[in-house]
């Protein structure tokens, strides 16, 4: 037996829509979802590119900084080494300045003695604190101070200047004491030249 279409429809009751449609605002949510996917992809790509560039820049600056720090340290080490060399040079210079030969001075003093004079005792001592200064003690057998003038003049020809001189004359003997300081004639010329 055949059932007509109409009859089948009769079995099915009329169905209303199960859920009401969404309000208009919420209907925009799917659209917003697609937009957000597109925006996320675009922005994330831009940010990722910028991230990569920033990483490269950061690494490049860090490498350069490390190189600069190494160079600075090298320069600092060189400066420290140079300062040590300068200190050593200064110390050696001070030593050399305080080690000027005394023999020319001795020779000049002994040669300055006239026929009527005699060296009884001649002493040259370097100052402990300032070795370029020489304490001179001279005892002469002489009857006048003329001999002393000649001797002092001879000493000055060697560029030594006598400071704090004291002299004692008595019984044909003359004691002379002074501090001799060397005056470099070249430095004097340099000073005049610079002025």
């Amino acid at each position: 037996m055949q059932i007509t279409e109409r009859q089948i429809d009769d079995f099915k009751s009329d169905r209303k829509d199960i859920t009401p449609p969404l309000p208009m605002v919420l209907r925009l949510v799917p659209l917003l979802f697609y937009c957000s996917i597109a925006v996320t992809v675009i922005l994330s790509s831009i940010f990722a590119i910028q991230f990569q560039l920033a990483v490269q820049k950061r690494d490049s600056h860090k490498t350069q900084s490390a190189s600069l720090v190494t160079q600075t340290q090298d320069a600092r080490n060189q400066r420290t080494a140079l300062e040590a060399q300068v200190k050593k040079a200064t110390d050696i210079q001070n030593w050399v300045a305080g080690s000027r030969p005394l023999e020319p001075l001795l020779v000049e003093i002994t040669r300055s003695m006239g026929s009527r004079s005699l060296i009884l005792d001649l002493r040259l001592d370097r100052e402990a604190e300032n070795p370029s200064q020489i304490r001179m003690g001279l005892s002469m057998g002489t009857d006048s101070t003329k001999q002393l003038d000649t001797t002092v003049e001879k000493i000055s020809t060697l560029n030594y200047r006598a400071f704090s001189p004291t002299q004692t004359l008595g019984r044909g003997m003359l004691d002379y004491k002074a501090t001799l300081v060397y005056k470099d004639p070249l430095s004097k010329k340099n000073e005049e030249g610079s002025q």
């Binding site: 949510v29 917003l32 600056h61 300068v86 050399v96 040259l124 001592d125």
Partner: protein, 178 residues
Amino acid sequence: MNNKHVACGIVALFIVILVQLTLWVKGNRSKVQDEASAAQQAETDATTLLNQERTQLGELRRQSADRIEFLKIWEPYFTAIDTRQSAEVNLSMQIKEANLVNLAQRFEESQVKGNESIPKTMKAYLTFEDDYARLLNWLGDLEVKMPTLRTSSVRLAKGTRANDLRMEVVLEQPLLKQ
């Protein structure tokens, strides 16, 4: 709330996740950009420091050129004799070669104040009595041959014979810091 609302809520949640993802990527970018800026600043500072250091080094080189030249010339003389033993042997040889009448000789090590590079010296206390010319010539030669040697003290007095001199001399040989 029906199933459409639930679906809408899930989609909205996805949107929030996408926004968060974007913000996270942006945050990372900003963080690395800040690090890059800091690194750039550090590089600038390092460049400035290097330039300062180089300027100071150049200035020091310019100012100390004469002293360094002086050191180059003089240092070999100081390093040639740098122990007490070598100083003693050398001076003894000089005395022996001169064949002078040596009445007394004494050697001792001495400290030098205010000179870090030359902390010690070997002091020689010598007494001679010989011909005036020979004695002074020997001292002169010695001071020329050994320019680092310092004659700290010398005393001349009349000797026992007519041409003789009695010479008491204190010589100091610097011993450079090793």
